[in-house]
Symmetry: C2
Subunit: 425 residues, 2 copies
């Protein structure tokens, strides 16, 4: 997940506007969890607007554009302000940061006017509520058409809500810049394992398979497709080791067994969990499976109202496996459809979400944020299926930071399963 | 194009019915151009209905089911008749063969009744018109709802028309059993060259690419996809030589140059010319290019009424190339849309047809048959483009019988071009 290999043009561009010392740079640090901007209480520390590639969890890679104070003074200051507004040309979303000690005035009006002019959605962020707690109750004394969020960049209060609002106002077609391109180098061989079963459409490839192939060849690498039965044969007929093997979840065990241990291994569903949402949140969620106790409530969340099939993955397979793992009864509720998750999320010990093929990234991230804010672990079908098959650690091999999140217990179970597989041949 | 590797289930199944000695077996020979059925004038030579895999040009692979005479006598004869009608369970199209000397009677009525019962379309074939020429004028004395064709299996009169009618009554979804599967063996490596230019849809593969990938992995082989720039690199990183390289037509020269001479080489458009129609007819058609003279009329036939783009392949590129090749003016007419080709086909020295992505195999074959019957050479964009790039012989390497159809002159030109390419590097 190298930041450097992500093309600038495809990241969500977020520009921050506000008077000098309103706390724009501190807010960036609070959003990214890093000390990246120069924070100082000397007004006017930021001069030329600089776009910086950053990562906001769980939003993923973004481009943050910090601008000079809109109240900058003097000839040079006026030039800085002019340059600040020019960034609206390449901005997806603007944050107007307000210091309650100074309030909403002509400077802030100017920002809203300019954003309207450039048709850039704007979110008003009232900062420093640790210093001015009364502003949350009393407001700014103006009626704003645009959404507003109260935060403290210092105490991080309201930051999660701000992320949620940022997601809501991101462009509809906002995606991750790449599905797999950041994991490979030009010229790499990438093997895709595609079982042909009754579910496979005749004479076609499903869209996720097409997207991964395109992403591979768009990144100057070589995409190699086989059924699971030919994987071993194909690997033995390549002159070099492939960089990565990506399997369909239905062939997890066979593909994992036939892929040499020193070759990176993952699945389409793990890649799309990252592409369509946030893999880290989901991996954190899977750990809650081990903490489930008989009698706990689990929410199965489906994005579409499909007709449940026999042996349905969300309504039959996963509940059956969870009950057997817990060794007792669990209470399952199912919600289906788009829009936010139900308000009583706090009643659940775990949310199991579908693969979200009918949701865009915005919608899925919104739901992940909703679960995070409610403090409820959330996992999706792809990640929990990998866990059920004992291959999650292996399927996270391209993401060592996430692998490290898994409990040692999980590792032991994997080793046991690996031994079992070898014994069975 | 081995007949044996084509699965039986996907071939067009044609069953022949008729009285003993109506000439069913001779008709099969006339359709296939081979002496395959046992022909004899002893009534009742055919006993148990036998399904045989055969090739009818230009229809491609079919399954012919020859049945016992429907007027067979005795206990054994009655059993044979019963078995004959049972084949209607696996028949796409029935031919009712009539000997005008015996006429249309209760036996024939029974066949039509049974076909209606099994919902199998039936074509009445009045045979032996060399012996009974008056039947063509006078008919059979009955009104038939189903189509009828007058033929002589002996002189081959009417056989081309019968093929046309067979195509018209084939099932709508009738296709070739495979696009590329008959050219490869299980475990083979097949490399697909897919240039990513502005015309490529973002994040997807076009349907023909998906179909070829699926066909390869469905046949237990390995599909390897690269952009043209990475072809050489990919070939050098495979442990074995690939069986076949298939290129997009837009990368003909680069892909041909980078593919070792001992590796089979073709293009998506050549494969689809075969899958969607008849490659032999089109290769015969390309030879007419060399016979064009200034002043000749050429018909450009497009299957859809797309908005012509600048540098349109059918309206600009091919006419420009043909004019320069002929060294003078040519008269081009363009027809666009589905349905039969215009009736004045005889006015043209060459028909250049589009890739037929909007036509099914039935419709494209119908048009090829129409051109054949009018005696006008027909070629399609894919085949003529390969010829224009001097790579047609190379692109026919999986089809040596068709390669042999090309003039030596063509070969010499290819060699010249090859030399030119090497000189230019």
């Amino acid at each position: 997940m190298s930041l450097n290999t992500t093309p600038r043009g495809q990241r969500l561009h977020i520009a921050l506007f506000g008077r000098r010392n309103a706390g724009k740079s501190s807010l960036i640090n609070a959003l990214t969890g890093q000390e990246v901007a120069i924070v100082s209480d000397v007004p006017g520390t930021t001069t030329d607007p600089v776009a910086k590639a950053m990562e906001i969890l769980p939003l993923g890679p973004v481009m943050i554009i910090d601008t000079a104070g809109i109240d900058d003074v003097g000839e040079l200051g006026a030039l800085r302000v002019k340059k600040s507004f020019e960034v609206l040309n390449r901005t997806d979303l603007a944050l107007l940061v307000i210091d309650p000690g100074r309030g909403f005035g002509p400077y802030e009006e100017e920002v809203l006017k300019r954003c309207e002019e450039y048709k850039v959605p704007v979110v008003t962020v009232i900062n420093k509520i640790d210093l001015y707690p009364e502003v949350v109750r009393n407001g700014l004394g103006v009626e704003l058409a645009s959404p507003k969020v109260f935060v403290s960049a210092l105490t991080r209060q309201g930051i999660e809500e701000l992320k949620q609002v940022i997601i809501q106002h991101a462009p509809k077609d906002w995606t991750m810049p790449t599905i797999v391109g950041d994991l490979i180098q030009p010229g790499d061989l990438v093997v895709l394992v595609i079982p042909i079963d009754k579910a496979a459409p005749k004479g076609r490839l499903i869209l996720p398979q097409q997207q991964v192939i395109r992403d591979i060849i768009d990144h100057d690498a070589v995409a190699i497709m086989v059924k699971e039965r030919e994987l071993k044969h194909a690997l033995s007929h390549l002159g070099v080791k492939p960089r990565l093997v990506i399997t369909d979840a239905s062939a997890y065990l066979k593909a994992a067994a036939d892929t040499p241990p020193d070759v990176l291994f993952t699945s389409f569903s793990v890649l799309f969990a990252r592409y369509k949402g946030d893999l880290e949140t989901l991996v954190m969620g899977v750990k809650a499976v081990d903490k489930l106790r008989p009698g706990d409530r689990v929410l199965i969340a489906e994005a579409c109202t499909h007709h449940p099939i026999e042996d349905d993955i969300g309504r039959v397979k996963i509940p059956r496996w969870l009950r057997s793992r817990v060794g007792g009864e669990l209470h399952f509720d199912v919600v289906a459809g788009s829009g936010p998750l139900p308000e009583n999320l706090g009643d659940y010990k775990l949310i199991v979400h579908c693969g979200a093929c009918m949701l865009n990234r915005k919608e899925m991230l919104s739901r992940l944020m909703q679960a995070r804010r409610a403090g409820v672990p959330i996992v999706n079908y792809g990640v929990i299926m990998a866990h059920m098959h004992g291959v999650l650690r292996r399927a996270l091999s391209p993401f060592p930071a996430l692998q490290a999140l898994l409990e040692p217990a999980e590792e032991e179970m994997e080793l046991e399963l690996e031994l079992l597989r070898r014994v069975r041949g």
